[in-house]
C-alpha cells in the first residue's frame, strides 16, 4: 500500500491561505482546516494522518493530536457511508426528538454513535444544530460528498422512515432536505 498523501486540492488550499496569517502563525492556524479536509479524503484521522498533517504544516504531531481529539467533528475511526445526526437538544426535544431518535436506534439496530454492520449508516445524537424552530432536526452527511450535508427539518415518524429507507437503498433523499 502506498503511503497516504495530501491531495493536490488540499495543497492548493494551503498555498492560497498561507499569506492570510502572520509570519510564523500560518502552519498552526491551518491545522483545523487541513485536518478536516484530510478526514474527508481518508475517512478518518489516525496516527498516520496526524503525522502527515504535522509534517506538512511544520507543527508537532502532539499539537495536531491535541486538536484532533478536542473537536467532535474529527473521527479517529471510519464512520458509515452515511452519518445520520439527530439533534435532541431542548428545542428539538420539545418537538419529540427523543422518540424519533429511539426509532432510529431500533430500526438501525445500533446505539448512539453506532454503525450498522454493513458499514452503511452511523447514527449520532448531536447538540443543537441552530434550526430549533424547525425541529426535530437531523443532518445527514455522505462520505466523499462535501456538498451533501443537508438539514432535514420537521421530522416525524413518516419522514424518518422515508429517510432510513432511502439510506438503506443507498441514496440521500435530498428532496426531503434543504
Amino acid at each position: 500500500m502506498t503511503a497516504k498523501q495530501l491531495t493536490p486540492e488540499i495543497e492548493a488550499w494551503i498555498e492560497q491561505r498561507w499569506s492570510r496569517f502572520p509570519e510564523g502563525a500560518a502552519g498552526k492556524a491551518l491545522t483545523l482546516g487541513v485536518l478536516y479536509q484530510a478526514q474527508e479524503t481518508f475517512g478518518h484521522v489516525d496516527t498516520e494522518v496526524i503525522d502527515i498533517v504535522a509534517d506538512r504544516l511544520g507543527v508537532t504531531a502532539a499539537h495536531v493530536r491535541g486538536v484532533a481529539t478536542f473537536y467532535t467533528m474529527i473521527n479517529a475511526r471510519d464512520v458509515g457511508r452515511y452519518h445520520l445526526q439527530v439533534c435532541t437538544n431542548i428545542g428539538c426535544m420539545l418537538d419529540g426528538a427523543y422518540e424519533l431518535f429511539d426509532r432510529c436506534k431500533a430500526r438501525l439496530g445500533v446505539q448512539n454513535k453506532g454503525t450498522t454492520a454493513d458499514g452503511n449508516v452511523t447514527l449520532s445524537e448531536v447538540e443543537c444544530l441552530a434550526a430549533c424552530g424547525y425541529g426535530p432536526v437531523a443532518q445527514i452527511a455522505e462520505r466523499g460528498k462535501p456538498e451533501i450535508p443537508l438539514y432535514f427539518e420537521h421530522l416525524d415518524e413518516k419522514k424518518i422512515d422515508a429517510i432510513l429507507d432511502a439510506l438503506e437503498a443507498g441514496n440521500v433523499p435530498t428532496e426531503l432536505g434543504r
Binding site: 473537536y71 474529527i74 431542548i90 441552530a130
Partner: protein, 450 residues
Amino acid sequence: MGENLKIISQHFDDPQARHLDHYETHGGYRMARKSSSMAPGDIHGEVKASNLRGRGGAGFPTGVKWGFVPKDAETVYLVVNADESEPGTFKDRHILFWNPHMLLEGMIIAARSLGVRNAYIYIRGEMQREFRVLQDAVDQAYAKGYLGEGIFGSDFDLDITICRGLGAYICGEETALLSSLEGGRGWPRLKPPFPAVKGLWGQPTIVNNVETIANLPWILEHGGQAFADLGVGRSGGLRLVSVCGHVNNPGVYELPLTVTGNDLIEMCGGMREGKAVKGIIPGGVSMPVLTADELDVPFEFDALQNDERIREVETAPGVKFDLGGGRTLRTMAGSGGVVVMDETTDITKAAWRILHFFADESCGQCTPCREGTGWLASVAHRVAFGHGRAGDVELMASIADGIAGNTICALGDAAAWPTLAFLTKFRGEFEDKVKNSHDAAPAGAAGGAP
C-alpha cells in the same frame, strides 16, 4: 420609520438576495464604498451614537468595545463570531444563508473604522451549507474589487478569510474562539486582558457577533442617532429573535426592543393547541427561565436584568443569589434564542437536557466547571427520571452555587444560572419528583425518552 421596519431580515426567504448584484440593486455596498474614504473616527462616532449592543450574548455596547483598542496599535484584527451554537438560537444562520453580503458590508465598515487589514469569520463547522454560501459571497466581493487591495478604488486594503470550526460549543466564547482560530484546542483564556487589548496572536482584536456587524450598513446610512431612536433607553435598533418550542409559528423575527414575552407569543401565532405557557427561556439556554406571570416585561437588555416584575434567582428559598458585588440576578436577553414551553412540559427534564449539554461541552480546564457540570447533569438526570434522592434539590443548588463565578469563562455561569432559576421558580416540581421517586435505578437510563 414604519411599524414594520426590517433592517436585516427584509430579504430573508428570497434566494436571489444572496447574490451580490441583487444585493446592490437594493442599495447594498453603498455604505461600504462610502466608508472606504471616511475618517475612521467618524464611523466610530456613529456606532457609539447608535447604542448598538452586542447580539452574541453579553449585550455589551459595541462602540465602547471598539474604544478599548489602544490608539497606537499597529495591527488590529476583526473577528466575526459565526459559531452560533447556543441551544434555542438560530438567527445568525439566517443572516449567513440569506443575507451574507450585509455581513460582509458591515465587516468592511468595521474594518475601516478599526484600521483592520485582515478580518476573519469563524463559522461553525456543522454549518456546511452556510459556509458555501458565505464563501461564494466572499469570492463575489473579491471579483468585484470590494475586497482585497485598494477596495472601491480607495487606498484601503482588506482581506476576509473564513475559518471553520470543527464541533465545539465552547468555541463560541470569544477567547476560546481565538484559541481555535490560532489553530489550537478551543480553550478559553482568562480575562483581562480582553481581546480588544490582547487577542489574536497577541494583538488587539475585536470580536463581534454576526448580527451585530450586519447592523452597521444601516447605521452608517441613517446615522447612529436614528438607530438609537429605534430602540429604548441604552439599547439601539431592532433585534433578531429566534423562537422555538410550543408556539404555532416558530421562526426568526426582527422586532423592536419594546416587544414583551406575551407579544412574542402572539406574534408567533399563539400557543400550540391553545395550551397555557409554563415557562420561557428568553435568550438561549444559558439564561434564567421566566414564568407565565413574568412575560409583560420587554425583551430588552436592561429590562430583563432589572425589571422588578421578574423574580430574583435564589440559592435557597429566601436567599438571593449574589451575582457579585451584591447584585442580584433576574434574567438576561442573551442570544435572542427564545424557548417557549407549555403547561405539559416536564421542567425537570428540560433542566436535565440543558445541563447534559453543558456537561458535554465543558472544555475541562477548570475544576468547578468540569466536575460541577457533570455532577449537576447526573443529579438532574436521576431527579427527572424518577430516581431522585432526599436532598437532591438542595444538592443541585449548592453545586450550581459552587460553579458560579469560580471559572475561567462564562460557561460555568451558563450552567449554574439556569439551574438556580429552574429551582427558584419551579421548586415544587423538582421536590415532587424526588418525593415520588422509585428506588431501583434501571441501567442505561441516560437514553430514556423525556
